[in-house]
């Protein structure tokens, strides 16, 4: 079974994503802050990461860059979740290395479809 890491400081969002992805036969690992997310990513080496941009301590953009510059992890697809704030808009303007962006509020089915596209 493919492993998916969900990193978001909003537990409710992690919960709902976990629910639909497990229903679609993926194994989900969850982290509720950037630091745990990065550690978990290196520990379990997931097949795909769903990453929130705005998080305390380490934001999604930094995690994405750290992973994408590391040969060991650079092939892991990253779906970046954004709330389209001005600050995020600026960051997205730069090179984040993310493979895809999902804007809040998103359709759960669409997220599942995108995940399946990368993990086929």
């Amino acid at each position: 079974m493919k492993k998916i890491l969900i990193v978001d400081d909003e537990q409710d969002i992690v919960e709902s994503l976990k629910f639909v992805l497990e229903a679609a036969d993926f194994t989900c690992y969850c982290a509720y802050n950037g630091e745990d997310g990065l550690r978990l990513a290196k520990e379990i080496i997931p097949d795909l990461i769903i990453l929130d941009v705005m998080m305390p301590k380490i934001n999604g953009y930094k995690i994405s860059r750290l992973l994408k510059y590391d040969a060991k992890y650079k092939n892991i697809p990253i779906l970046m979740v954004t709330a389209r704030s001005q600050e995020e808009d600026k960051i997205i303007g730069e090179e984040t290395g993310a493979d895809e962006y999902i804007t809040k509020p998103f359709e759960l089915d669409e997220v599942v479809k995108k995940v399946e596209k990368y993990l086929k």
């Binding site: 969002i13 709902s16 229903a23 705005m54 709330a83 001005q86 600050e87 809040k104 509020p105 359709e107």
Partner: protein, 573 residues
């Protein structure tokens, strides 16, 4: 006492006769009336010099036939250069040397009348010359003052800096009045009153304290019985010293000086006051000049203060604008996250993965879902609007055919229209030129207009989208909008969306493009929507140098029209 004495002397004409001939002395004293002329006669050289330098005569008659006095001419001339010098010469010949010093000549055999009139003619000439030279001096003086005033005025108009204006005023007064000491109380620097002491010499601490106290008293005296609007005291007064010759000190009593005082004000606006001191008395002209400069500085000072206020207001506005967009950004972010959780939960519930859904629970789940979508629509619209208003909206201008946009919107919305039993028809001019526009934004505008039409039109009716090429002079904008829309002359693409819906009352028509206008209207609120669609459409069209307006009749239908300049693509290149 002094004046009385000088009056008497001025009235008497002083004549000095230098001769050792007693008969001559007597002769002159008989012919010159004692009431008008004060005659002295002497021949002692030393006494003559004493008399001339002490009490200079108006007329000096020198007997040229006295051999012993021959060499005194030059010296007399140099001491009494304002006196009329007349030589008494023999009738036969004139010593050429004497012409250098003489104003006139008399001979022994001249008649009395001749002698008197020679003296009087010369006196009149001397008076005229004196008057001329006095007016010349006055003229030069006025010219100097005028120049000082002029250059000060030009300096005033050249700056909007309050401190500089005060400085220019002091310099201007210095040039025009040449005084020793100025005290300028400047209230222009708001809460901190500043006393500028401009002085030729260094001021002792005691004198500065005295000047501070004097300034506070002066300031308070400007408000008769009333309380001064700004309370100043010697402790809070900030003193700026400007000393010309710091090596020397003022040690005298200030009250022995002449002084002048002026308020610096415009109408009821008091900016400060200025007092100047001088060892010698000030003349009435000095006073006029002083008041003029004090008045002249007032208007530029007022401008400077207003300018300062505008700058401050602008900074505040810019800060508010920044806060507003930050606020919207934060709010929209903070709203999106919980909204996502609600939406996700509803999605999962509706998918039936958590158990079977009854008919009534589906009704309420979709109600919740609809409102989540509405809320997220509002957030998107708010973000769009704040971006446009902040000028941060990026437009992708490219050659665009409006008919392509119309076809796209018609196709996208025909399903929704059909579900409400409505039909959308188009009346397109197929020869329309391409225009330079952001096709996606025009789709947004048109989608909004057609969605509104669908919302507000009852079943079995028709919505018509039309497109035309028109000249600005053939565009008829109704009375509600014609004042706010100014179109440059030229060709425009006109697009209209006509419905057969509930229409808009005339009083609401003007506010149709205001933010959240729909919220005022409970009837249309049922139809859903954010209330931001039309203001966004208006802003998007204005970014295209276009305009939007609406014709409507209550219960008959509305027609929303917009125009975009038909500038051909090749014309822009």
């Amino acid at each position: 006492m002094n004046t009385c004495k000088s009056d008497k002397i001025i009235n008497m004409i002083k004549i000095l006769v230098i001769s050792d001939r007693k008969d001559k002395c007597e002769y002159f004293s008989t012919i010159f009336n004692k009431n008008t002329y004060e005659l002295s006669c002497m021949s002692d050289e030393n006494l003559i010099y004493d008399l001339i330098s002490g009490d200079t005569p108006d007329v000096i008659i020198i007997d040229a036939q006295i051999n012993s006095l021959k060499n005194i001419n030059k010296k007399i001339k140099s001491i009494a250069n304002n006196s009329i010098i007349i030589f008494l010469v023999p009738s036969s010949n004139i010593d050429k040397e004497l012409i250098k010093y003489a104003n006139a000549f008399l001979t022994d055999d001249m008649s009395d009348d001749f002698v008197i009139s020679t003296v009087n003619v010369n006196l009149r000439m001397k008076n005229s010359l004196e008057m001329l030279s006095n007016s010349n001096k006055d003229l030069a003086d006025s010219l100097y003052r005028l120049n000082a005033l002029y250059s000060t005025s030009s300096q005033f108009s050249g700056t909007l800096d309050k401190a500089k204006l005060i400085q220019y005023m002091i310099e201007g007064m210095d040039r025009a009045l040449s005084f020793s000491l100025t005290c300028t109380l400047s209230l222009c620097t708001a809460e901190e009153p500043v006393l500028i002491l401009n002085s030729l010499y260094e001021l002792s601490d005691e004198l500065i304290e005295a000047l501070k106290l004097r300034t506070v008293l002066n300031y308070n005296s400007l408000f008769e019985r009333e309380e001064a609007p700004i309370q100043i005291n010697t402790d809070t007064l900030k003193v700026i010293k400007q000393i010309k010759y710091p090596a020397s000190r003022f040690t005298f009593n200030l009250f022995r000086f002449d002084n002048m005082f002026a308020r610096i004000s415009l109408g009821d606006n008091l900016f400060g006051c200025v007092e100047i001191f001088k060892e010698a008395p000030f003349s009435p002209d000095d006073a006029t000049c002083f008041q003029t400069i004090a008045q002249q500085v007032s208007l530029p000072l007022k401008s400077a203060i207003l300018y300062q206020e505008i700058i401050e207001a602008n900074t505040k506005l810019a800060k508010l604008e920044r806060l507003k967009s930050e606020f919207i950004s934060i709010v929209s972010h903070e709203l999106r996250t919980p909204l996502t959780s609600i939406k996700n939960s509803l999605d999962i519930l509706m998918s039936g993965r958590c158990g079977e859904i009854t008919e009534s629970s589906e009704k309420f789940l979709s109600m919740a879902m609809r409102n989540v979508q509405r809320l997220s629509g509002i957030i998107n619209d708010l973000l769009d609007l704040s971006k446009i208003e902040a000028g941060k909206m990026d437009f992708n201008f490219a050659p665009t055919n409006i008919n392509t946009v119309i076809d796209y919107v018609k196709t996208a919305l025909s399903e929704v229209a059909k579900s409400k039993g409505l039909s959308i028809i188009t009346e397109q001019d197929n020869s329309l030129p391409d225009i330079t526009a952001d096709a996606q934004r025009l789709e947004q505008v048109l989608t909004n207009l057609v969605s509104n039409a669908i919302k507000f039109t009852p079943e079995n009716k028709t919505i018509t989208i039309s497109s035309n090429l028109v000249n600005s002079k053939d565009i008829h904008i109704n009375e509600y909008f014609k004042d706010s829309i100014k179109l440059a002359p030229g060709d425009y693409i006109l697009v209209c969306v006509k419905d057969e819906g509930i229409g808009i009352a005339p009083k609401d028509l003007l506010h149709a493009f205001d933010k959240f206008a729909q919220i005022e209207n409970s009837l249309s609120r049922k139809a859903g929507g954010t209330g931001l669609g039309l203001p966004i459409a208006k802003q998007l069209l204005e970014a295209h140098h276009g305009a939007i307006w609406c014709d409507s009749e209550l219960n008959k239908g509305s027609k929303f029209c917009f125009v975009i300049p038909a500038v051909r693509v090749e014309q822009l290149v």
